[in-house]
């Protein structure tokens, strides 16, 4: 468990605020639909449901959520 906590803190620190990033007027690419974190939420929902009912893991990308008997 502590290993997880350490990874999380390290990653958050990395995401600090040096000069990495894009200027507000350079966000043309980042605004593209296919550059969004989840460009196709319906497809993601369907995939999460399949893998939730066929594997023992869930979550990570968004809320784990099951909402199904999935036998």
């Amino acid at each position: 468990m502590t290993r997880i906590a350490l990874i999380v803190v390290a990653l958050l620190a990395l995401g600090g605020c040096a000069d990495i990033g894009a200027k507000p007027w350079q966000r043309g690419v980042l605004a593209r639909e296919d550059m969004q974190v989840d460009p196709d939420p319906v497809q993601t929902g369907l995939d999460d449901h399949i893998y939730f009912s066929k594997e023992a893991s869930s979550g990570g990308r968004g809320f784990g959520g099951g909402g199904c008997g999935c036998n």
């Binding site: 468990m1 997880i4 990874i7 999380v8 990653l11 958050l12 990395l14 995401g15 605020c17 990495i20 990033g21 894009a22 200027k23 507000p24 350079q26 966000r27 043309g28 690419v29 980042l30 593209r32 296919d34 550059m35 974190v37 196709d40 939420p41 319906v42 497809q43 929902g45 369907l46 449901h49 399949i50 893998y51 009912s53 066929k54 594997e55 023992a56 893991s57 869930s58 979550g59 990570g60 990308r61 968004g62 809320f63 784990g64 959520g65 099951g66 909402g67 199904c68 008997g69 036998n71």
Partner: protein, 444 residues
């Protein structure tokens, strides 16, 4: 002959302005607007249909989805989502193959299903239709914050679920760094057909080889009323823009659930030294589970055209299941209205500590929890797929994706006393499925 006029009329415009010696002339507004364009289209619909088909006569499913989103401007959005899910076919019931045909009583005790000699027993008596509805509202908070909350509900013939979630995200560093946190609660009610069986209790009247008569009193061993379970999910995430063409995302999610986790329709074979089944008992799972997952994603825009997306998830829980998932997508936008997106996913998980392929004679009285559900076994899986998307003149778009998913089981949880006997059977149920999705998005 290369057509010089290809790239717009900038040359013509410059020459004309030169001729007329006009001063700075504001950009031309479209004078010939068609009235239709002004009418802002209010609702955006995102529809999809998934057809899922496992080989070997196992589970088949069709899942249409309809999502409607109303954008009020200023980052204010309301969305509704309806998912239907029709399931048919058979899935492993947990019992091991036997050298002689086996008969199992169906969950309602009315029907029964058989497995031929040497065959992996499959419960084919379940047909299921699930309806799930969710609503979500997102609105801005102050200059850089966004808050969203939603409700979900879903209904199957033996399963009812209702949940709520809320999440907040805040932009720092001119929008380059976004921290988000979310909380969700879900209450499930499982009303198994014929009542939930007593954990590890004997499956009634399922003596291999004999055909049972119908009017057997079926609620023997069935527990009273429905079982419930509560799930609380917490997720915190960071999205950091690295440069104008790439970003990284890190999520940590914690999921704790307490209550009834057992699958009322799954059993375990209790075998003798020769590996043949003596009797069957219902499975039993712990009534609590805590899952931790760490997720990282890297997304990059390449060659001023394509998008590469690579993500990794590590999950561990107190059922001692540990899993790694690598997911990679490469979207090739070969022109402004079409793309092709190959997809590769690799997954690997270890077995739960109470996973048993089978129990040795008498072991069922010594264990408190045991399950032979293949989904709790050790296996690795890969998915390979290809998606094609097209945007039409009107701005609407459709997409089609064909994927193949293959799971390969690892031999674990075999009682030593019967290891030799069981070695003649294939205990790790492999799974292969084809998944076809079509999607269509339009404004109305």
């Amino acid at each position: 002959m290369k057509d010089k006029r290809r790239h717009g009329n900038a040359a013509l415009r410059a020459a004309t302005l030169g001729l007329l010696g006009a001063a700075v002339v504001p950009a031309p507004a479209s004078a010939l607007e068609t009235p239709g364009e002004q009418l802002a289209k209010k609702w955006e619909f995102d529809t999809g249909l998934l057809v899922y088909s496992e080989s070997g006569g196992r589970v088949q499913a069709a899942e249409p989805v309809l999502k409607a989103t109303r954008n009020f401007g200023d980052d204010r959005m309301l969305s509704f989502k309806l998912v239907l899910d029709t399931l048919t076919g058979a899935s492993p019931n947990g019992a091991t193959p036997a050298s002689t045909p086996q008969t199992f009583t169906g969950p309602s005790g009315s029907g029964s299903y058989r497995a031929n000699a040497g065959e992996m027993p499959l419960d084919d008596s379940f047909k299921d239709t699930r309806v799930s509805l969710s609503a979500d509202y997102l609105f801005p908070v102050g200059e850089n914050g966004k808050f969203g909350y939603g409700l979900t509900a879903s209904k199957e013939f033996d399963f009812l679920s209702a949940g709520a979630n809320a999440r907040y995200s805040h932009d720092f560093n001119q929008g380059n760094t976004t921290l988000s946190a979310g909380l969700s609660y879900e209450a499930d009610e499982i009303s198994a057909v014929g009542g939930a069986p007593v954990p590890l209790a004997l499956m009634p009247a399922a003596v291999s080889g004999e055909v049972e008569n119908e009017n057997e009193d079926e609620d023997e061993g069935g527990g009273p009323g429905a079982e419930t379970k509560g799930v609380v999910d917490v997720i915190v995430g960071l999205t950091q823009v690295l440069d104008p063409n790439s970003l990284v995302q890190f999520n940590y999610s914690l999921s704790t659930s307490s209550g009834y986790h057992t699958d009322p329709y799954k059993v375990l074979s209790v075998v003798g030294a020769d590996g043949e089944p003596l009797r069957y008992v219902y499975e039993s799972r712990p009534d609590a589970r805590t899952k931790h997952a760490v997720f990282a994603r890297y997304k990059r825009y390449l060659f001023a055209r394509d998008v590469f997306d690579l993500s990794y998830r590590y999950m561990t829980d107190d059922w001692k299941v540990q899993s790694s998932t690598i997911d990679s997508l490469y979207r090739w936008n070969f022109n402004s209205t079409n793309y092709v997106e190959p997809h590769l996913r690799w997954y690997q998980q270890s077995a739960a500590d109470f996973y048993h392929a089978a129990l040795y004679d008498g072991e069922e009285t010594r264990v408190t929890e045991a399950s032979a559900d293949p989904r709790l076994g050790a296996f690795s899986g890969y998915t390979v797929g290809l998606k094609y998307g097209h945007t039409m003149q009107s701005g609407n778009s459709w997409s089609a994706r064909l994927e193949y998913y293959q799971q390969t089981g690892k031999r674990e949880g075999v009682p030593e006393e019967a290891a030799a006997g069981l070695s003649k059977f294939k205990l790790e149920p492999d799974l292969s499925a084809v998944m076809f999705t079509v999607g269509y998005r339009f404004k109305w």
